[in-house]
């Protein structure tokens, strides 16, 4: 995937990581997006997106604490990298520019 275009879902996942900072991990992100968009989200898609973003260099990860609920497994906490935040800001910039100049008529 060339360029800095973020997919719609990837952007949601990245923003959730930011909102939940410093507790952004799989299950929490999934619940957050589900609550926000009132759409069902599967854990595997969230994980796939997290890893895609990590491969692109937009997210960094490190291991957090293990809990009994997780059967003793640690959770992976994600954080936004500098490159990631740049990409987010760029995307936001384009959208805000377009929102600012879109005439009301076009929105029906």
């Amino acid at each position: 995937m060339k360029g800095t275009y973020l997919g719609e879902f990837e952007e949601l996942v990245m923003l959730s990581v930011g909102v939940l900072h410093p507790e952004g991990y799989g299950v929490a992100i999934k619940n957050h997006i589900e609550k926000l968009t009132t759409r069902k989200v599967t854990l595997s898609t969230v994980h796939a997106a997290l890893h895609r973003l990590q491969n692109k260099g937009f997210l960094a990860s490190e291991f957090g604490e293990a809990t009994k609920e997780r059967g003793g497994k640690r959770k992976k906490i994600f954080t936004i990298t500098i490159a990631g935040s740049k990409a987010l800001r760029a995307s936001r910039g384009w959208r805000e520019e377009m929102w600012a100049t879109i005439p009301d008529i076009a929105l029906g």
Binding site: Y25, G26, V27, T42, L43, S44, H47, A48, H51, R52, F63, A66, T67, E69, R70, G71, K73, R74, K75, K76
Partner: protein, 254 residues
């Protein structure tokens, strides 16, 4: 149902996950699934939780999470990866079409395999006879007769010796006459037997059926001789030597 306060996810699903999942991702994935599992367990009970767990284990069976298999040949590896990618995309974008195509391919393959096997079976039937290439069967065909369109698998008994006499190319001939199922009896056992044939003594010179006991020269030298399979010998005479014993056949000595 279990009496434990805390039940555990289905073991087999967990084993499957451990098998396919990349080691580097296993801990976080398993941890996340467990976390949701236990919360569903608390809220909706064991059955729902188990269903959820199994569902998730299969949902995670995606390229990013699967252990990388070692293929040393870079070329083959990339080509395979590309083919897989293209086929998955086709499947995703057009499930019906792709599955129909796959089904069609499968059926085509199945049909060709069946046809091959049937042809093979027909062509290699009874090839164990040494002289198989030289053995011919004489049938009866009346279709050249304008009044009849009969074809028979049998011919009259005189043909056997007659064809040998008239055609020097015919080295030997044997006739087989099917006998209807009959009661065969020894001193101790009686059974209804099918597969009884009257044959000419030249039977063993033409067909390759090895004799466990006795010799080809004497096996059918007289009209009341009979040759039976080893199975039959055990069935009628047990452990005793069947040679020289008598089997009656429809109560006639034959």
């Amino acid at each position: 149902m279990r009496n434990d306060n805390q039940s555990n996810p289905p073991k087999w699903a967990s084993r499957f996950l451990h098998w396919y999942c990349k080691q580097s991702l296993l801990e976080e994935i398993e941890g996340d699934i467990n976390e949701e599992y236990y919360s569903i367990l608390k809220n909706s009970g064991r059955k729902n939780a188990n269903h959820y767990y199994i569902n998730q284990v299969f949902r995670f069976f995606r390229p990013f999470a699967i252990t990388a298999l070692k293929i040393n040949n870079m070329f083959i590896h990339s080509v395979l990866k590309n083919y897989l990618l293209v086929s998955f995309r086709n499947l995703k974008s057009d499930l019906l079409n792709t599955s129909l195509s796959v089904l069609g391919l499968f059926l085509a393959l199945l049909c060709s395999m069946v046809i091959y096997r049937v042809a093979q079976y027909e062509l290699t039937h009874d090839q164990f006879h040494e002289k198989a290439e030289l053995i011919y069967r004489v049938n009866y065909d009346e279709t050249k007769n304008p009044n009849s369109s009969r074809r028979l698998a049998t011919v009259g008994p005189p043909l056997g010796p007659a064809i040998k006499e008239f055609y020097p190319e015919v080295k030997d001939a044997v006739r087989l006459r099917y006998s209807r199922p009959s009661i065969v009896a020894s001193n101790d056992q009686r059974f209804n037997e099918d597969g009884i044939f009257y044959v000419d003594p030249s039977f063993f010179s033409i067909f390759s059926f090895p004799l466990t006991q006795g010799s080809i020269a004497t096996a059918l030298s007289q009209a009341n001789h009979v040759v039976i399979t080893e199975e039959m010998a055990i069935k009628y005479f047990g452990d005793n030597n069947p040679m020289g014993k008598i089997l009656t056949f429809n109560n006639f000595y034959k």
